[in-house]
């Protein structure tokens, strides 16, 4: 007879990440998340329109503080995220492997790439002003300087497809937006939200002020139109709006966003073929910026 008592599983309750806290969905509902083969993994909170509204309120409240920090400080905070992610590498590798159905080795490489991407964008925070702004030659005795400023609250529909979408793709859409001083509300990939919800735990322990990044899991068709039509959201990243039609389709969301003149990033023509390990370039970094131009009288 064995005297070894088998230990009970400690299952994790995944929660939303809103305003620096981990609330359950306002609806109290959850949905089943399965792995690539259809096996049950965990229950994720079913974020609703109201959760999206609450997240926008939190994101709006965080704009002043986050956009007001120095670029240098923002870089340090983002680097800290990479450090924290590094410490939980194995957990994320396991979640990515299950979510995307890739092998352990590939999953580990994807997590490493995600960590490197945080570092890469952390380095950009105090350099983006040099490439997006500068001195303008004007016909008069003035210094004329343009500097980029953050757009404000960015609604993001996180990637739902493509190699590495669940974590690397997510990081690739969040990091550039927050690096320049925006705050974000993210609708995580509906089928693979676990790495995103775990990323919330990393952000909460990384000196990122509450409300700068807000992560919601749930039906994209619920959350995305709420963000697109919300009058207090300033820009929209539709990378994960891959539905052919219905409320989650990119065309309809763009139409909603047009009512309030939001800046919009459109999805790739073929999101399923996208490889998130490719070098990101500066497009996303420069997408959510407004230009402020100052005229200053020149001395003699």
């Amino acid at each position: 007879m064995s005297d070894v008592v088998s230990r009970l599983d400690v299952l994790k309750t995944y929660k939303l990440y809103v305003g620096g806290k981990f609330p359950r969905s306002e609806s109290g509902r959850v949905y089943e998340v399965t792995d690539a083969k259809g096996e049950w993994l965990a229950n994720a909170p079913l974020g609703t329109r109201k959760d999206a509204r609450d997240a926008v309120v939190a994101a709006r409240a965080a704009v002043k503080g986050w956009s007001g920090t120095t670029a240098y400080n923002r870089g340090q905070v983002l680097y800290r995220v990479a450090e924290m992610l590094q410490g939980r590498r194995e957990q994320f590798a396991a979640e990515v492997a299950l979510s995307e159905g890739v092998g352990a080795k590939k999953a580990a490489a994807l997590v490493d790439a995600a960590i490197d991407r945080w570092v890469w964008y952390a380095g950009w925070t105090d350099k983006v002003a040099q490439i997006a702004g500068g001195a303008n030659p004007v016909a008069g005795p003035f210094f004329n300087l343009s500097t980029p400023e953050p757009t404000g609250v960015v609604g993001i529909v996180a990637p739902q497809a493509g190699y590495g979408h669940s974590l690397l793709g997510l990081v690739s859409v969040i990091a550039p937006a927050v690096a320049t001083g925006n705050t974000v509300v993210v609708a995580a990939a509906a089928d693979a939200p676990l790495p995103a919800l775990s990323l919330g735990e990393v952000l909460a322990t990384s000196d990122v002020p509450g409300g700068v990044v807000n992560i919601l899991s749930g039906r994209t068709a619920d959350i995305a139109p709420t963000l697109a039509s919300h009058q207090d959201v300033n820009a929209l990243d539709l990378t994960g709006a891959i539905a052919a039609d219905g409320p989650g389709a990119a065309g309809g969301l763009e139409a909603l966003a047009a009512d309030t003149l939001k800046r919009v990033i459109r999805p790739e023509p073929d999101p399923f073929a996208q490889d998130w390990t490719n070098a990101p370039g500066t497009d996303r970094l420069l997408s959510f910026l407004e230009t402020k131009t100052v005229w200053h009288p020149m001395g003699i």
Binding site: V56, R60, T226, S229, H230, Q231, D232, D259
Partner: protein, 328 residues
């Protein structure tokens, strides 16, 4: 609205005429009021806060709440321009939607009453003025009465007075009573009519629920037309349990005397959800009789913007943002 005759000090015919005859009789009466069950009160207030109000009921409640607002600016930095802007907002809360109801009143300091009165000419919006050395109430009685008379002379329709908390807490109930009676007299206009008197208790400074019940009865006996929770100037303002307690007091007072008194929670009510909770509380405790701007008011400044944003959400289906309402 209640007339003075029915609401005169002493309240004839109710058996309460002699309550304020002496310090001792007043104390005996107030301390004879039943004690407040704190746990029960807080639980009841919390339960009433869980009601879900949706769709058409919500639309009705939002419009009702807007029409009950005493839109308030009580800052040292108030200017004539700011008061005018606030009055304009009170007249037309949402310029994009003319169906939005007007607020009940504009609440200002006494020196701004004339400005507000002029800006509101031609509307039925009342001008309320705080008085009696608001918010502390620490001034001599003649100063307080002059303050009140000055506001009434400038055209104030309603006077929000503060009680002397120091006197109340040290048990000098008759002083508080006499002061309210004197202020009520100072509300008298030359034509014999009276400005409406709201009595502010500053419940955040009264320490116990028993005190809130006592002071509610004290003010109603002295002839208050409205009882109001707070000045909005201290850490603890209107809370649901305190407001519920005051609602029960006015209910009991009407049962005892036949005189209806209004209630105004003030301070810290910032969201539509908060306002709904108070409306539910009024409806469940007092019923329809009090669900009108004549008998229930919100003392608030930022609440109106949230109500307007919720109203826009109901009409357009889209969440609105602070960019679409005024900055006050």
């Amino acid at each position: 609205m209640s007339t003075l005759a029915a609401n005169a000090p002493g309240v004839a015919g109710s058996g309460l005429e002699d309550v304020a005859a002496s310090e001792a009789s007043l104390r005996r009466f107030l301390h004879g009021l039943p004690g407040v069950d704190q746990v029960g009160l807080e639980a009841r207030a919390a339960t009433l806060g869980t009601r879900s109000i949706k769709t058409t009921a919500k639309a009705y409640a939002i419009d009702l709440a807007i029409s009950m607002i005493d839109l308030t600016t009580l800052e040292g930095a108030d200017t004539v321009g700011k008061v005018r802007a606030l009055c304009t907002k009170g007249r037309t809360p949402d310029p994009t939607d003319p169906t939005t109801p007007r607020v009940a009143a504009i609440c200002v300091y006494p020196d701004m009453v004339a400005t507000a009165k002029a800006a509101l000419r031609g509307t039925d919006i009342q001008v309320a003025s705080v008085a009696t050395a608001f918010p502390a109430g620490r001034a001599a009685l003649p100063v307080k009465l002059a303050d009140t008379a000055d506001a009434v002379a400038a055209g104030a329709d309603e006077i929000d007075m503060v009680i002397d908390r120091g006197a109340f807490l040290s048990g000098r109930y008759l002083d508080v009573y006499n002061e309210i009676v004197a202020v009520k007299e100072a509300c008298r206009r030359p034509d014999g009519s009276y400005a409406h008197l709201k009595v502010i208790f500053e419940t955040g400074e009264l320490q116990t629920y028993d005190n809130v019940r006592r002071v509610s009865w004290l003010a109603m006996l002295a002839g208050a037309d409205f009882i109001k929770t707070s000045t909005g100037k201290v850490a603890v303002n209107a809370t649901p349990p305190v407001t519920l307690l005051m609602l029960e007091a006015v209910r009991d007072f009407r049962a005892a005397t036949g005189v209806q008194v209004g209630v105004k929670p003030a301070g810290g009510i910032k969201t539509t959800k908060d306002a709904m909770k108070y409306l539910v509380m009024v409806n469940e405790t007092l019923g329809d009789d009090w669900l009108s701007p004549h008998w229930f008011r919100f003392g608030a400044s930022s609440l109106l913007n949230d109500l307007l944003m919720q109203r826009q959400k109901l009409t357009t289906g889209r969440y609105s943002g602070p960019d679409y309402v005024t900055v006050d």
